[in-house]
Symmetry: C2
């Protein structure tokens, strides 16, 4: 453990106490994007400006009828109706039906006046102008009424809803061309003398490329935020402090991805300690990996600063389980993450320890969840994983047949 | 059911027989994108061009030692080593250690020659130039050896792997700046006289906006494909045939999103029947929703044409469970979908019917899966859903406590 970690805070407590101390939500930056764009989350609830469907429609091919005319109709005792005409597609009916009449209608056609339901074509026989109805229908059967999908003023999408293939159709349906998504400006600072820029072709001895900045950028961009990279700060307090000042001038949130040496970590915590109220709130989280996570921020300026661990897998876990929930908290007040949480019975034990919350990459095979070893190749494990096993602080090993909690991407 | 559906093919059989008849994979278009881009799938496997880590590194703060020197070391019987120096971060060590010596090392530092492991700082006491080691270490302990994460020639990413936050770090680590992703050109044609363009502000009576083109575009763009929209074809055979000819000149794949009237569906199937070998292969799939799905294609020109149902929820299910697997089959030979499949015990019955494969939107609450009713508001159900329940053709209702199959986005 790093020297700066004085007491490890349980992750959920760290999130809720940070949200309380900062007075979330702050309501961050916003951006209008085409509604069929594939990134970001809805900033404020989207309400319907019109009814859908705009008229009561048939959901079947058949005959528009008054259900009262078909009361008790059956194969042996059909109802006989006269055909008043055909409802054109894409146009209002030019006629209404009187008692004893029906109208040929196609799926999506407007229900004519006088009709309250549709008899499916397979439940009828046609004999010229006479239609034999061999099955009774209930009122509204095989129709969708005006406004049934949504009515003017209905909430169509909640704040925080991801804009993706699931929402594109809804926007089209409602004629909404642009969505206002939440977009925070996030600055990323990397630290550590052993870190070289990711575009370094030939690595000098002792150096490795900066993994965390790219990983964080992709993670944040996927959530709709804009990312500016401030490169690699030198391992001195002054250099890191200067980078942080610059990044704070230009961003809502700054993420420092920690170098792995003790001195870098010390510089980082000492600089965060100097931030205005409430400053450095959380110095280490009771989770593995991801312990050396720092949460700081300034309530008046509405800016958040996080220190994340240097090891890429720890950095990822910390970003996914702490940074993303904090950004959602900042925007909407609820420190929720983007994962899909589900309990599943495991076929193989998932090994853990009590006293600390643990995250282990999880892969799905044939509909079952298995742990992926991280030790020697966390990057392949991460790329292959479908999500994470989460073992709470009170959980030890989850045995075969028991339920484990998984968080799927 | 529509007239053109002669025999319903089970979905998986439809996919495998289409893949066989078309001679998949065809190997489609490709596109080089920045490796930290958030869309698309890797076209061909990515192999490592260098070792990672590039040198054997310490994974802890402590002392680099020869494990032989610490044999049997314990609190009561420590090993005493002389401190030969400190390994600088981000540079090659300028010295090696002799038997009986150790070197101060930080997480990420290069292991000096003569050392094979690292003793954690908390297992030592320092007394000037003497280091007291109070815990034995095994060879390689607290280190990661050169190439342990990946070695030159190792497959880092498989073909078909999604490029996202999980891969961005891996690319950065390996110094890969661009990824070659699979990009198919897909043309989308909408049909149906009741359909108006999605940017229509005031809908004329009887019209609804085109939902499917926007939904399909978002779904396909999320998979990395480029989409060109051919608008709404008039409900005549000639108009639809002309649109299809135009779209086939410019795309690898054409998707016709079917109007809901019988005549549109008839035109569509009749046009697909005229396509060159093998032409129209599948006329309806044994699934609900999504029955009126057509699969056609031309082996020689390597072009695929699909007819999807007009109802937006049916269209979505058909695109998600048939179109996307076919595109993956076209590219890599395996007709797999993008979903994460997992079996979960249900708290509430999921109602189904035997004899047909069924898909029901599924929402996760407190780690449990619940069905969402679709009837009156499929668009909200889809936006809220975390995935789908899948009930196989042989499954009826899944009762409380039984396991159901879910496909999460």
């Amino acid at each position: 453990m790093a020297g700066f970690v004085e007491a490890l805070t349980p992750r959920e407590k760290a999130l809720s106490s940070a949200a309380a101390a900062f007075g979330f939500p702050w309501r961050g930056g916003k951006l209008s994007v085409p509604a069929d764009s594939c990134s970001g989350r809805i900033l404020v609830p989207v309400t319907a400006g019109e009814n859908y469907p705009p008229f009561s429609r048939s959901t079947r091919d058949g005959y528009a009828v008054s259900s009262a005319d078909c009361l008790g109709a059956a194969s042996g005792s059909p109802a006989y109706l006269t055909l008043a005409g055909e409802i054109p597609m894409g146009a209002a009916p030019s006629f209404s039906i009187a008692p004893g009449q029906c109208a040929l209608i196609h799926t999506g056609g407007i229900l004519p006046e006088g009709a309250d339901s549709v008899v499916m074509v397979e439940d009828t026989e046609s004999a010229g102008n006479w239609i034999e109805v061999k099955m009774a229908v209930q009122k509204a059967e095989n129709t969708i009424r005006r406004g049934e999908e949504f009515s003017v003023g209905d909430t169509m999408l909640k704040a925080g809803q991801k804009v993706d293939f699931r929402t594109a159709g809804l926007f089209a349906m409602a004629g909404i061309r642009h969505a206002v998504i939440a977009r925070l400006a996030v600055g990323i600072i990397s630290t550590g003398d052993e870190i070289a820029p990711p575009d370094t072709v030939r690595l000098p001895p002792g150096k490795v490329r900066d993994v965390n900045a790219s990983m964080l950028s992709a993670l944040l961009a996927g959530e709709g935020h804009t990312v500016q990279n401030y490169g690699i700060a030198e391992d001195t307090r002054d250099s890191l402090a200067a980078s942080l000042r610059e990044a704070l001038r230009e961003n809502d949130v700054v993420v420092i991805s920690g170098g792995s040496s003790v001195s870098t970590r010390d510089h980082c915590s000492s600089i965060l300690e100097d931030l205005p109220h409430p400053g450095l709130l959380v110095r280490g989280i009771l989770m593995s990996p991801g312990k050396p996570t720092l949460i700081a921020g300034m309530k008046e300026d509405r800016q958040l600063v996080l220190g994340l661990p240097g090891h890429p897998f720890s950095c990822f876990i910390s970003a996914y389980t702490v940074l993303l929930p904090l950004l959602n908290g900042l925007l909407w007040g609820k420190t929720e993450g983007p994962w899909k949480r589900v309990f599943v019975p495991v076929q193989e034990p998932v090994f853990g320890h009590t006293g600390i919350e643990e995250f282990i990459p999880c892969v799905l095979r044939n509909g079952r969840a298995f742990p992926l070893p991280v030790k020697s190749s966390f990057s392949k494990a991460l790329a292959e994983a479908d999500g994470l096993f989460r073992l709470s602080t009170s959980q030890e090993t989850v045995r075969q047949g028991e339920e484990a909690e998984i968080w799927l991407w």
